[in-house]
Symmetry: C2
Subunit: 340 residues, 2 copies
Amino acid sequence: MLKFLGRRVALIALLGLVLCGSGALLARAVASDPLPSWNDGPTKQSILDFVARVTKEGGPDYVAPKDRLATIDNDGTLWVEQPIYTQFAFAIDEVKAQATKHPEWKTTEPFKSILAGDLKGLAAAGEKGMVEVMAATHSGMTTTDFDKTVKAWLETAKHPRFKVLYTDLIYQPMLELLDYLRANGFKTFIVSGGGVEFMRNFADKTYGIPPEQVIGSSGVTQYQMWDASPVLVKQPKVLFVDDGPGKPEGINHFIGRQPIFAFGNSDGDKEMLEWTAVCQHLCFMGLVHHTDAVREYVYDRNSDVGKLDKALDEATAKGWTVVDMKNDWKTIFPPAKTSP
Amino acid sequence: MLKFLGRRVALIALLGLVLCGSGALLARAVASDPLPSWNDGPTKQSILDFVARVTKEGGPDYVAPKDRLATIDNDGTLWVEQPIYTQFAFAIDEVKAQATKHPEWKTTEPFKSILAGDLKGLAAAGEKGMVEVMAATHSGMTTTDFDKTVKAWLETAKHPRFKVLYTDLIYQPMLELLDYLRANGFKTFIVSGGGVEFMRNFADKTYGIPPEQVIGSSGVTQYQMWDASPVLVKQPKVLFVDDGPGKPEGINHFIGRQPIFAFGNSDGDKEMLEWTAVCQHLCFMGLVHHTDAVREYVYDRNSDVGKLDKALDEATAKGWTVVDMKNDWKTIFPPAKTSP
């Protein structure tokens, strides 16, 4: 985390020096903008205003640092979720990698379709098929072995369109937002429908969010002794689904109090935003709306992945902040890593 | 938390001034001892040595601050658990308080026994009876209403022997240990078999541990709309039991990584200590052994509450630190609050 921040600070400092040659005034403006990848306008201003109000000591909306909790979705809010959730891409690759150990998969759906590269056949297996794939690839091993597999995959697997690592497909404006919140005393949490043990393998390095501040869907683990040494073995059984109403339930389960700031991008975030909206302080609710087909993707009401329909209506009706990705974000991904 | 620390610092400063009159040398010795309520000896020294080694930059056992996690049991480790767990005393009082709303309890066990003050009858109902009492008093209300009830009870209910609030029956040496760990960069967590929502109502004020660092047994909650406003309603269904093997499972579920320091007092902590013992750094495992009948209680292998048998054998065999309460602790409770 320190290393990560250090790198970013060094980059900003370097940028400042370069700009200094062409105009000292501009350099100062860049250095003082905590959200440089956000275009000026009402969206950016709503964030700046909120943070200014809750941090103004003696002001009517002041919130003590210990109560400044921010809960932020992951898939589609912090990183790309199209064309399929990254964790599902991992599961598909794992089926292929483990196929020789499971000869029965050649004749059993949905594994047969995956091995034949038939994504339509996989889709036909529906949610039940997906659950089977997740169970087969996310259980039966120790948590330590699972972590190693996930880390190795994240270091090599490439996104089918952008041809870069998945962890390069994080949103630069949201990284700046996370830094800005933390610089203003916020404790930042991920609250995602994704698997908690999958996310904990990259959230610290990628977002500066330690494992204990990552909340997500969870499987059952079982404490066992292997060769007289204790291990936790992942079981093919769901403990907790952290999506939709499961998000406020998960926030209560893991955090035990309400956030004052929440950001999502889909109907799966609706209840988390509603729950945040009744916080005991000034509250901020935000949505990322994917409106940029050239630099990222365009999708909302009719998407299979990250469907944004009811939450968009509620955000509009209640005046929550909605990011128009195309117009509000100057850049999408961290510099010098991706080209669309 | 700041207020809490402030009070303690003020007390220590005052103590320093008083002692200063009788001997400046002694005052300096007191001021420099981070664990003044611990008698000098191998137990105290094992803690001081461990912290010195993991915080010594450049040393062979150095652990970066971000990896300094401490997980500490609550009942019997941070506060009194005899003659019955405090949360169960709360549940019994709640049955009495809610009895007029439940006329059927007059004729239904185990409620009938509780209302008649017949603790033997309650004991005869066994674990099933206890589960019924817990379900009846810990579900059906919103999390907000439950919190209000717990807080009100903690402000008035008195311990049957010590005649003081339960939150006054916390162990002064363990408070000093928590402060000492945090002053050395540790993140302190409670990991208890007790109910997480019960503990989160006093852990911050009492121990300086915020709700999101309190891990415990958990019930299911359900997100609902009451009068068009979102609430979380506590359900009579167990989500997670954080005891025995459930402790390392819970640490993985909530924290996602291993502690390097763990403290408990019963067989329910055995697996947590075993799991800590295989951490990737220098690891510390400790147990509180209740050996002081005069100032607190004496119990271990044959106790119904906080049974310490197998974990004591394992601690002895493996050289874990075992606190002999009578001889290792100079004081038991915070000053000027209790007399036995």
